[in-house]
Symmetry: D2
Subunit: 138 residues, 4 copies
């Protein structure tokens, strides 16, 4: 099990006051949890910039399902990446537009490639990638 360590941090009073105000606005219970989150965020960001490791994330895509053969193409591409796709969830935004959330886990380069392939399909209006982590040592 992971041991909890404790160390001291010094900070100018004026900076600490601004930080405490941030903590309150963001619903943090205490400074430690806010600081841990800042550190985890920069480490996860590094994982995505440096590449080479497995990641977890979600690709969100918005498309018009009335476009001919669009749904077929999306399904085909997703099957080509079945080894990194955990699941896809489909939401009906309105009569025309669909939102699909593709949860992914695995090789970071394959995640980028999958997003490119989905984004480049005609009829896919927008894609966005939520970059997260397998959570090891965080």
């Amino acid at each position: 099990m992971d041991i909890l360590k404790r160390f001291g941090v010094s900070m100018e009073q004026s900076l600490l006051q601004r930080f405490d105000s941030f903590i309150k606005r963001k619903s943090y219970k205490n400074r430690s949890e806010a600081i841990r989150d800042l550190i985890r965020e920069l480490l996860v960001e590094e994982e995505w910039v440096e590449g080479g490791k497995d990641v977890a994330g979600a690709i969100i895509m918005v498309y018009d399902h009335h476009k001919r053969e669009l749904v077929d193409k999306i399904v085909d591409i997703q099957h080509d990446f079945h080894d990194i796709i955990i699941s896809s969830q489909h939401v009906h935004l309105d009569h025309h537009m669909c939102l699909e959330v593709v949860t992914v886990k695995g090789d970071i380069n394959k995640v980028f490639e999958l997003e490119s392939k989905l984004k480049s399909i005609k009829g896919v209006k927008h894609t966005s990638l939520a970059r997260s982590t397998l959570g090891k040592e965080l």
Copy 2:
């Protein structure tokens, strides 16, 4: 129905060659689709920066479900935001870590507030927000 318009774009040959190489790498079929995607992306980005409109997106969170009362807190908070949450999907990353994808649609400020509340819970290791759109006029 939406009418298709056509217009001409002029570009230095050297820039066009670099763009065509980008298009090929990113699996685009033609320049028009790549340019439409660039324009849609900047418009969606503006929606998120300017605020005030409804958006669609997904909050992804990674947490250790062994932490006491963590799952209860997550469920409680999500219920407080039931009007913008379409659904939550749970993935077991390993024996300890869970990944949860919360698909959201609605008031942009509520989306930011929900992410803050989830992120600030002790035991939640990381959150990330995929920013997308309802797709109107895109």
Copy 3:
């Protein structure tokens, strides 16, 4: 003068090890300075996202000075924004290309407007904005 405050932070050993490795790679002398930097960065980022306050920064632009009337236009626009421009520095990248660094201080909206106006000029190849702060209470 600003009083120095001290408080304790608790952290899982594994996270602390990854943080210490980050600190070393980034040349930090100690954890306090790295944590203060993380906090200052998020506060400055908030200043730029929320707007409404005065900021400091630099707009960098790359352009081909052989384009007709380009330099005149750049000078004209900069004069319209003389109240937020501290100075401009010109660098000759090669026979054709110039790099100009425009140091700015003042109303955030004027900074964004100045960057838009410079970027939209034909012949200006690229602009980039370094977002910083007046440094109050940091």
Copy 4:
């Protein structure tokens, strides 16, 4: 000299109207220049993400010059990187705070390393990096 090429782009009327409204707000004279800027921006972004090439940019730093030995350390570090630093410009923000703009050109990894070294100095409150380009084939 660079030959100008012309090609056609098709777009839904609704998307084109939103794009034209963007163009007007951002002071562009015509669609071509706005589209060229979008393409140049993504190419420069790729240069910075992929690394390996020479870049141009500016590091902006805000610091309190009353801190002991701070200015000496800043000068020492900048001299270690004299091969990528074109020049430094110093601005007095107020009685305490200084803003320094370090214009850089050269190896992207050295630029990142220089920013890390400057940022990690105690007394340096904030650094920011404007990422630009040598402008070749743009």
